[in-house]
Amino acid sequence: MDGDRLHAAILLDAPERRRKDAKVEIALIGYQDQGNLGLGYLAAVVERRGWAARLYDIRDDADALARELSARKPLIVGFSLIFQFFLPRYREVAQTLRAAGIDAHFTIGGHFPSLCHEELLANFPEIDSVVRYEGEETLIALGERLRCGADWRDLDGIAYQGPDGPVATQARALVTDLDSLPFPRRPDKVERIVGYPTLPVLASRGCIRRCSFCSIHTFYRTAPGRTVRVRQPEKVVEEMLELRETYDVRVFLFQDDDFPLWGKKGRRWADELIDRLHASGLSHDTIFKISCRAEYVEEELFGALKEAGLFLVYMGLESGVEDGLDVLFKQTSIEQNLQAVATLKQLGLAWNYGFMLFDPSTTFDSIRGNAAFLRRIVGDGSTAAVFSRMLPYGGTTIRDTLASEGRLRGDLTHPDYVFLDPLINDYHGLLTRAVRPWIHNRGLSYSLANSIDEVETIERLAPLASGCAEYRAELRALTAESNDRLLRLVEDSSLAFERGDPEPLDPLPIAAYCEAQLETLDALRDTFLRRNMDTLVASIRGMPAAHPVMMPQVH
């Protein structure tokens, strides 16, 4: 079935067809934190076809899942795998399901299976097929074939293990019009930030850039069709209104690969979105976060976005030295990154960032250069200092480069590489262990950054909350001190390690410091939230606020 005919079939909504297909059920299994939009879209097209879709978390008990699916007898069990880290867990679940006698067709999709299908099939024999690239149309086509016992191996967008090795059919074209898709199915339980329901949304898919460490552009460029597709602002706002109505969502997290603000076209799109957010009333009592490139941050546009509800901007800054930006192929400059941060601070927007202190070009000098850059942007405590190490994910060009240089290490699920200076390998290991009290999911830096995001949320959604300015000032002082300590550790330890002295990396005093700071933070946070409990409860329950989210500006 070709793309157009299939699309027509998806759109067909005849009741007779639904009755006939009453028993077709598809189980979709993946990582469900923050609402999995990929699985949500798949579930929505399955339901629009008139079939049933059930969502499960890959971390659920595998035996319980096997009992559930044994009873439900789905036609297809679809696994959604983004990162290869999870592969062993997926294999374990699939093995448990097969051992329980579940003979449904097992398929898998996502970035890693799409880009590395041969390796996946070789290491995952329980899988019958891989749905490559965007899966909405292929999954339905697969279901159509399977439900009438027809062969599916000639479908576009499929890979499977043939008798002579892996076979990949022609890649199916990307969805041309994202607004032709139904709104994604949502989880039964939504996450909350300081009590306000929050859900992810998408305004676009794809990224026009070619960062060497990122597999997103490879994923979209390898399949035919336009790499970047943007939804109509009207439909985005319609979905937001529906989520506001159904779930009382007050905080929207735009999870676009790159929020579509580039160029004149992006500006026109943003202007329309802003107008519609105001006209719909969403700007009055909801806020949103976006992820975008630094060069899009411009005072007038982001000021207007803030008035429409923007409260938090995530940017992948990634490096503070030119060699790092070059090897990561960020196509941005240190000055652009600094300017973006300065603009966001000037506008009073909360911001977070991705940053790779370590990349394949790392030297001790670049480590200190990056630390100096981080001091410039977070030395004031406006957000927490965080950093990580670039990892060579499947589907990235940096992995090819490292492979050709003989520097690739690790294995299928945990890819790694060696640095050019062997001493950096040892230093990285010790530093990672030492900074863990700051940089892990419940570490000091992440807790500080989350607390800053929380107070921003409260200031915007509950303007009657008291003591915000004082709490914010305390947070800023705590964050500035923590950042200084963390960056000083990087600076001092890198100099000392070069001299052969690993002592500054002793993890014990560091852990004690972070623990004490976390206790202080928790006490401050608890006091602030409890003092405002009644105000927050009233605001979350939708009691009329005394002021709109954004006060009108008086000139």
Binding site: F83, F85, P187, T222, G354, D400, L408, G410
Partner: protein, 71 residues
Amino acid sequence: MGIKPTEISESALQSSILERIRWIFDPVDMDHILQIDKNLVRQIIAQRLETNAEINRSIAEGSAKAAKLLR
């Protein structure tokens, strides 16, 4: 269908206000929270070269078509 804040109890709402949400903004952040099994072995180089080959095949195909149109 989600549960609206107006439909949950006062104590549950208060707990959700005090509870910390842990957002993950960037995939690389996940490196710190994942328990990684290192048992599965190498094959990495061939894996990436295959993707590379596929991209180059697509480029070659497109270039050939473009060249044909220009002739």
